[in-house]
Amino acid sequence: MQSGQSGHQESPLLSQTDAELVLAVNNGQAAALGVLYDRHAALVYGIAFNTLGNSQEAEDLTQDIFLTFAKRSSYDPGRGSLRTFLVVLTRSRAKDRLRARQSARGVLNRWQSMGQQDSTPNLPLEHVFQNEQSQEVSSALAQLPDNQQQVLKMAYYEGLSQAEIAKRLEIPLGTVKARARRGLLKLRQTLTHFA
């Protein structure tokens, strides 16, 4: 190995954990960002496309996510998985773009129809994501108590923080955590099979 090489790689890039790769990216290693892209771009792009509805904006957002990540990652590998971090970040930025798009459209409509009441109906954001769920997933979810489903959906699907969920539902933070974790545990047991 050359002197001056930052870090101490025990294993080839491809077999490194996400946490190790993030460290390498923060040290400026382009190859590590490439591996992270190969692992997670389809997840990010899938969410972007699902929310924004067209490939151009989905590409822009995907690029935005990975470039932000390369420049100043606020991801802490000790606190949570990288994939969930990326999902929540992508979802949040996509919603920002949707809001910007809708408000731009709203301004346009006000110009075009001065004085008229008619304005573009603002779709509730939840209706934008219409996932067709497989039979397996539907029945797995149906096995969860409603209150667990609700919290999981708000945390992961809508990207709300647990504090925000606690506030909206007017329940303690500890209850939010317990419901989300138990719900996920139940899903894991139902959807995946023990070896």
Partner: protein, 244 residues
């Protein structure tokens, strides 16, 4: 099978809701029992299966665009850093035209090539570069199939041995001395950096430099072994090359 208490902690990690004390505890548990990583994956899969929209591979060019923009150019204009190419491209187009006209470069062939490229579309849809190993005993081979119109290429490499940590393979485009593109002192443009899988194969569609629109300007395509943290230094000699 981990205890329910541990499984709930793993669920918390996957959901990203560990508080600092739980995070410290989890880090310890993970260090003591690396098999927990498998449980984390299972939990992650369950969460995504239930709540994430379908994964979609992005268009092929996005990968190179992101990598090139992630680490933008820093210093000397003559470095072979491929990442510089995007920011230099429009400057070079202007510079190339200016150089040819104002300095009157006596390179009739170059001028003809550029004019021909502007007037006529490329004859074939794709150009295929076949690379063979410089070591006669090696079974390594590669094909680079370029679409000059889209400036995209499919790279397919076979039978290249996996490298030790800290090293990567680099694909170089070697151009004629008079070509008006930024190259290193070996007249090469760093085109792709890659690793092979455990079978010695690599396959990817990537963006390629604009020089590929002018077939006559590309002299060789080669693969070398470089340091992973500075492939642009171009310290390796070709282990695979066209025209053998």
């Amino acid at each position: 099978m981990p205890s329910e208490e541990l499984q709930l902690l793993i669920a918390g990690y996957v959901l990203g809701d560990l508080d600092p004390e739980e995070a410290a505890e989890f880090e310890q548990l993970l260090a003591q029992n690396p098999a927990i990583a498998n449980e984390i994956s299972q939990m992650q899969v369950a969460l995504e299966t239930a709540y994430a929209p379908p994964q979609l591979p992005p268009p092929a060019h996005l990968r190179s665009t992101i990598l090139e923009n992630a680490y933008p150019a820093r210093s000397t204009p003559l470095s072979a850093n491929r990442r510089k190419l995007l920011s230099w491209r429009s400057a070079l187009e202007i510079a190339a035209a200016a150089v040819i006209i104002t300095l009157g470069i006596n390179n009739y062939q170059l001028r003809q090539t550029l004019q021909t490229a502007q007037v006529q579309p490329p004859q074939s849809e794709v150009i295929t570069y076949v690379l063979n190993a410089t070591d006669a005993g090696s079974a390594a081979s590669a094909k680079v199939i370029v679409n000059p119109k889209d400036l995209e290429a499919t790279i397919a490499v076979q039978n290249l041995p996996p490298l030790p940590p800290g090293k990567v393979y680099a694909l170089w485009t070697v151009v004629t001395p008079s070509a008006p593109y930024t190259t290193d002192d070996k007249k090469a443009i760093l085109t792709e950096v890659f690793e092979v899988d455990e079978r010695g194969n690599f396959s990817q569609t990537v963006a390629v430099p604009k020089v590929y629109r002018f077939e006559d300007l590309v002299v060789k395509v080669a693969v070398t072994i470089e340091d992973a943290n500075a492939p642009q230094k171009h310290i390796g000699s070709p282990i695979m090359i066209t025209g053998l």
